[in-house]
């Protein structure tokens, strides 16, 4: 990996199942067994009722584009991508997460709020991270 490559997340015991699932091509999020609500990001207890009784569910991978910015001053490792969108997507299950929008030029005309998206995955060092691409396009894998 180049010295100033894109950041690679360092999983913790609580987040390891999320990254392990991503490596298998699955988007997993947590759901509370007490109040039933799904949430993101992975953590040791439910943010709605503080219960520690949690399960991992496999998300459909379908999402919509909630909001984004197009960054013209690239972070280290993103020089070749600029300008690139930093988006927040809304999963079909409800929770939202940050992602890049891949497989499409990141222009305001192309990126329309509420457009349908589909999860895809990107290898980042020895970790795999979820990304999103417009629904109906050929996903990376």
């Amino acid at each position: 990996m180049p010295a100033r490559g894109k950041p690679t997340p360092v999983p913790t015991p609580e987040t390891r199942p999320y990254f392990d699932a991503a490596a298998r091509g699955e988007l997993k999020i947590q759901r509370c067994l007490d109040c039933g609500r799904p949430f993101f990001y992975p953590r040791p207890c439910c943010p709605f009722c503080a219960s520690a009784a949690l399960e991992w569910i496999t998300a459909s991978g379908r999402a919509t584009l909630y909001s984004y910015t197009i960054n013209h001053r690239p972070a280290p490792g993103f020089e070749q991508d600029a300008p690139y969108a930093i988006a927040v997507v809304q999963l079909e299950e409800g929770p939202r997460m940050m992602a890049n929008i891949v497989g499409i030029d990141n222009t305001p005309d192309n990126l329309v709020l509420d457009m349908d998206l589909q999860v895809t995955f990107e290898q980042r060092g020895d970790v795999t991270i979820p990304q999103f691409t417009p629904a109906g396009t050929e996903a990376a894998r």
Partner: protein, 389 residues
Amino acid sequence: MSGPTARPANGGDVVIAGAAETDAVGVLPEHSTLRLHVEGARNAVADAGLRMSDIDGIASVSAPGPIQVAHALGIRPRWIDGTGVGGTSFLLHVRHAVAAIRAGHASTILVTHGESGKSRVGAAYGMLPPSSPNAQFEAPYGVLGPPTMFTIPLLRYMKEFGLTPEQLAYVPVAQRKWAARNPRARYREPITVEDVLNSRMISYPLHLLECCLVTDGGGALVITSAERARDLPQPPVHILGTGETFESPLISQMEDFTTSAAFRRSSAEAFAEAGISHGDVDHLMIYDAFAHVPIYGLEDMGFVGRGEAGAFIAEGNTEPGGRLPLNTNGGGLSYTHTGMYGMFLIQESVRQLRGQAAAQVPGVEVSVALGNGGMFMAAGTLVLSNRTA
């Protein structure tokens, strides 16, 4: 706009008795971060007509933090507050100082800010631990500082409420009109909506002139009881109401991208404690790291309805001669922005209430300051007045 107000629940028994900034703000490559704290502190204590030995409480943000600042100044405090929640921290320090003085934990508290935001002399480099949620779930997507995160909610707001790029661009135009009257402001030349829209794109949809400055500077406050302040030289600024809260450490987890829950909750609490309504407010300061933040602030504090703030500003209501003077020092967009800008909100509110501002608004009796910490992460609100009720 002052009208009859209910008697404040707290009676305004704690006041800001001293307030001052560093001798200069802007580009100060010969000033370390610590020197900015010390210079602001010495100026504020002198402004209060006190000696450093009168100070028995210290609040500041790391780094360098309250211990280093107090040690450098020779203060031996019996009360310490190092609350660090970003740029609004100083508003929280004021709130905590009110409680400490009422409790008798300190009598005279110094709140300091110093930041070498531009020159980076002795500055802290904020690095989140790689295991933090931010590092795991946002950094991999290419975020780099506030311009890449604070801006993300804005397109959703624009879609929901029809805010136009021209209305957004008018925010720095209006504030530049105030800066033109302030000799200390970094940028004072008038600008137009076209100038803003033609400036370099930083983080779509925000252009360079819709982003705050990056400067060096500092400031400090001296807080004590109204009783003690009676013998001091400056007109006291009574702290009538305060609020503090947070929403989310990750911008992606903000509940609704069209409104800041932190702004709403913090401000509602401060207004309720002060017993004031919006019509009582003569002067307003809202943290303006980016052009959209005052728009959220005006709506979340309840000065206008949802989706109305862009038009409210574009119609001239917040500029010189308008009915709700906003960010009268020129704001972070034109005056100065060291990184943790909140101290400068309070400084300008104090100057306006004392009648000492460069762009003085006539007859200010109630001033409100809304601070932001992080990227819509935390908020603090102060209701300040030159009268007790």
